[in-house]
């Protein structure tokens, strides 16, 4: 395969930068995007000024307030960010149609073969940065390399406003000294395990004995070995849709009441299922996320035999997952959330059959119960016409009034 040219673009402190751009008085100040009133929420993004105080995204808001008492806390305005994101993606589209949008402020571009038009990867990256700076008054960091892993790694090396190429000859000097946690697919747990095995840097992984490590790490060994040696064949997949749809709620007070948790889940499932249907996808898996008061977070998955976009099977599944967590009265829950993943376009899955029975009631959680589908279709059309508040489940009514 010919060598590709992949760009990874990541906006710098995106939400915070947009706010600072739109409100000049915020410039130079530590701006923290988080619900100011929801002390128990987490930080979405913060400006580089705030990062100097040790604040980072996903940190509890209360902790951010302690670290940076003079910070400017701003509630996120997702509509605005999404509009800016669209403008940014439009700029990228001038250079290549092969754009894989990773999130609102991040994308891969495969610019292989565009050199004649726009110059080499570095030139193109510079032009894109200039466009974004001139038209949006924002800065981005871009990594240029020959695969996705290295491009993404590069964009992060000199943030903000970075422009870092990684060529095959840079691998040893620039990549190998980096810690293993920079490897794609290596989380905190795997990192600990690798460290115990004596692997600290990407260079260590690149030289490890794969056969031996396979016995400890399984398939992860091959995966990281290839990455560490600069091999990553994953293509840039344009028009990629959301990988998951989720909803989570952080409670103002820790919750010990399972029924209340279930009701919360039901509300979340309703929203998730509606978004799922709007996107035209069906989900194969549903994940329950629970955060206990001591900030311990667990997730539990359920995989459906047949993908679904309906409330009933989703709710039955997450309720079952919650029951499996075996919450006792001592367990206080701080956050609960539902995410659906493994999305597949609706109607693309091979059909399934079910023999009907005279005496046994049909299983209530069939992933594609035609009557449920019809119900959801009617509910959706009502909500489309009159707004989301027009119809809800009786069980959720009191909560919304409160």
């Amino acid at each position: 395969m010919e060598q590709r040219t992949i760009l990874h673009l990541d906006m710098d402190a995106f939400f915070a930068s947009v706010e600072q751009r739109d409100s000049p008085e915020l410039r130079g100040l530590p701006v923290i995007i988080a619900h100011p009133t929801e002390l128990r929420g987490v930080v979405s993004t913060c400006s580089y000024e705030a990062r100097r105080f040790g604040v980072h995204s996903a940190m509890p808001t209360s902790q951010a307030k302690r670290l940076c008492p003079n910070g400017v806390f701003i509630a996120p305005d997702h509509r605005k960010y999404s509009a800016v994101s669209k403008q940014m993606m439009a700029i990228l589209a001038r250079y290549t149609p092969l754009i894989e949008k990773l999130s609102v402020d991040e994308a891969f571009l495969d610019v292989t073969g565009c050199e004649r038009l726009f110059g080499d990867g570095v030139t193109m990256a510079r032009r894109i940065k200039e466009d974004i700076s001139r038209e949006l008054n924002l800065t981005a960091s871009v990594g240029i390399s020959y695969n996705k892993f290295l491009a993404k790694l590069a964009s992060d090396l000199e943030k903000p406003d970075g422009l870092v190429p990684i060529t095959p000859s840079d691998l040893e000097t620039r990549v190998h000294p980096l810690p293993i946690s920079r490897l794609w697919g290596v989380g905190q747990k795997s990192a600990e395990q690798l460290t115990r095995l004596g692997l600290r840097t990407i260079g260590d992984v690149a030289q490890m004995n794969v056969t031996r490590m396979r016995t400890y790490l399984g398939s992860l060994a091959d995966h990281i070995y290839l990455l560490a040696n600069g091999r990553d064949e994953r293509p840039v997949q344009p028009n990629r849709e959301a990988k998951s749809i989720g909803q989570e709620t952080t409670f103002a007070e820790d919750v010990r009441d399972v029924v209340f948790l279930e009701t919360t889940l039901l509300g979340q499932v309703e929203k998730v299922a509606r978004r799922l249907r709007q996107s035209g996808f069906e989900a194969r898996t549903v994940t329950l996320k629970l955060r206990y008061a001591p900030w311990q977070t667990i997730t539990r998955n359920h995989t459906f035999a047949h993908p679904t976009d309906l409330e009933t099977p989703l709710y039955t599944a997450v309720k079952g997952l919650l029951a499996k967590c075996g919450l006792s009265r001592e367990d206080a829950i701080r956050l609960i959330g539902v995410t659906v993943g493994n999305l597949v376009p609706k109607g693309t899955v091979e059909e399934q059959t079910q023999q009907l029975s005279l005496f046994d009631a049909p299983t209530p959680t069939v992933e594609t119960d035609p009557r449920q589908q019809e119900l959801s279709r009617v509910v959706d059309s009502l909500k489309d016409k009159f707004g989301d508040k027009i119809l809800t489940r009786a069980r959720l009514v009191r909560r919304e009034e409160e």
């Binding site: 059909e351 399934q352 009907l356």
Partner: protein
């Protein structure tokens, strides 16, 4: 005990009772066949405690001597050895003599066997079926009723009552119902019964009925059926058949059978049978053997498909359709089972929607009905 019997009569008698011999009982005597000789002839009995069969070989049939009883008595012989041996015996007659310690000598031609028998006193007595609940039915009709319904019994023990065929009698009308909850077969017949005789919820094990069906002759001789508290006795000439009944309440099926329909079609049995059979060849067994009917106003299209094998379609134009067009999917095995026991040249099929049971009826025989639940595709 000492007797001489015609070999053919002996072979036939063993064959009659053989089906009741227990194949996996822990009680040794149940793996045997009991023979008891007295002045009336030689009586053969076998039972697995679920069913019991008793057949008498009389001393004389039409003045021909069949059995000569020289000394009355009884013995139990292993069905496996006894059956095999008797079939291979060289002579026209067989002499059976029981000596001490149940040692049994079997002589035929120049052959002599010495078999170890078992004490007949240990052999369970067949229940004395008392009761005046007796009705009479032609052997061939009873046989047909069994054939047309027993295929629909459930093979799963989760709901024991569904492993049996429900017998009901009212106003001289005998009705059989069997269902495994995915399909249901019913057959009725007028029988000779006392006018006041009536019963419901008599559940006869399907397996027992299959054995009974084998014993029943294809003629119009009347057989007597005695219905008692927990067993049924069927008397056919010199042979009697007992079966235990299944405890429990049979589900109410009166509201299950639709009385109206939205789509009705009349079609040639053989043509449809062939088409469904051909369609089933590419249907996936693990996926309910799904075959579809696409019913239009003037034609019926039979289709099936499986991702691995491929697909099939076959139209039948020579049909009569009343009512709505319909697309329905069903298990082709159930359909073929139903057609296998139908002798009418034409079929009437009545549908009430793609998620509702459909009925197979016979235009020339209103006493038969077969219901099949469709398969939901999602």
């Amino acid at each position: 005990m000492k007797i001489i019997i015609l070999k053919n009569a002996l072979v036939q008698a063993i064959q009659n009772v053989h089906k009741a011999v227990s194949s996996k009982s822990t009680i040794p005597v149940l793996s045997g066949i009991k023979m008891a000789a007295d002045e009336s002839g030689l009586r053969f009995t076998a039972t697995d405690l679920e069913i019991g069969i008793e057949t008498l070989v009389p001393t004389l049939i039409d003045d021909e001597e069949i059995v000569q009883v020289k000394e009355a008595g009884a013995i139990v012989l292993s069905a496996r050895f006894f059956g095999e041996i008797v079939r291979k015996l060289p002579g026209k007659t067989v002499e059976i003599e029981v000596k001490q310690n149940y040692l049994t000598i079997i002589r035929s031609g120049k052959t002599e066997y010495n078999l170890h028998g078992l004490d007949h006193e240990e052999f369970p007595r067949l229940p004395q079926v008392a009761g005046n609940q007796v009705f009479s039915v032609q052997s061939d009709i009873l046989k047909d009723m069994i054939r047309q319904t027993s295929l629909a019994v459930s093979s799963e023990e989760i709901r024991p009552v569904l492993t049996g065929v429900l017998f009901t009698l009212k106003n001289g009308n005998l009705k059989f119902v069997a269902t495994d909850s995915h399909r249901l077969a019913t057959r009725e017949s007028i029988v000779e019964a006392p006018p006041e005789m009536e019963f419901t919820n008599v559940i006869v094990p399907g397996k027992s009925l299959n054995e009974l069906g084998r014993l029943l002759a294809d003629n119009d001789v009347l057989v007597d059926v005695v219905v008692a508290e927990n067993q049924v006795l069927v008397k056919m000439g010199h042979t009697q058949f007992y079966t235990r009944l299944i405890d429990g309440q049979y589900p109410d099926i009166s509201r299950i059978i639709p009385t109206t329909f939205k789509t009705g079609l009349t079609v040639n049995t053989k043509e449809l049978q062939g088409a469904v059979e051909r369609a089933s060849l590419v249907a996936k067994e693990s996926d309910n053997n799904v075959v579809r009917f696409n019913i239009k106003h003037d034609r019926l299209e039979i289709t099936s498909a499986s991702p691995d094998a491929g697909k099939m379609s076959e139209p039948i134009d020579e049909i009569q359709v009343n009512g709505d067009e319909l697309l329905i999917a069903f298990n082709s095995k159930f359909f073929m089972d139903a057609l296998r026991v139908i002798d009418s040249p034409d079929l009437l099929i009545e549908f009430t929607g793609s998620m509702s049971p459909f009925l197979i009826k016979l235009p020339d025989n209103p006493t038969y009905l077969h219901l099949i639940l469709p398969v939901r595709i999602y």
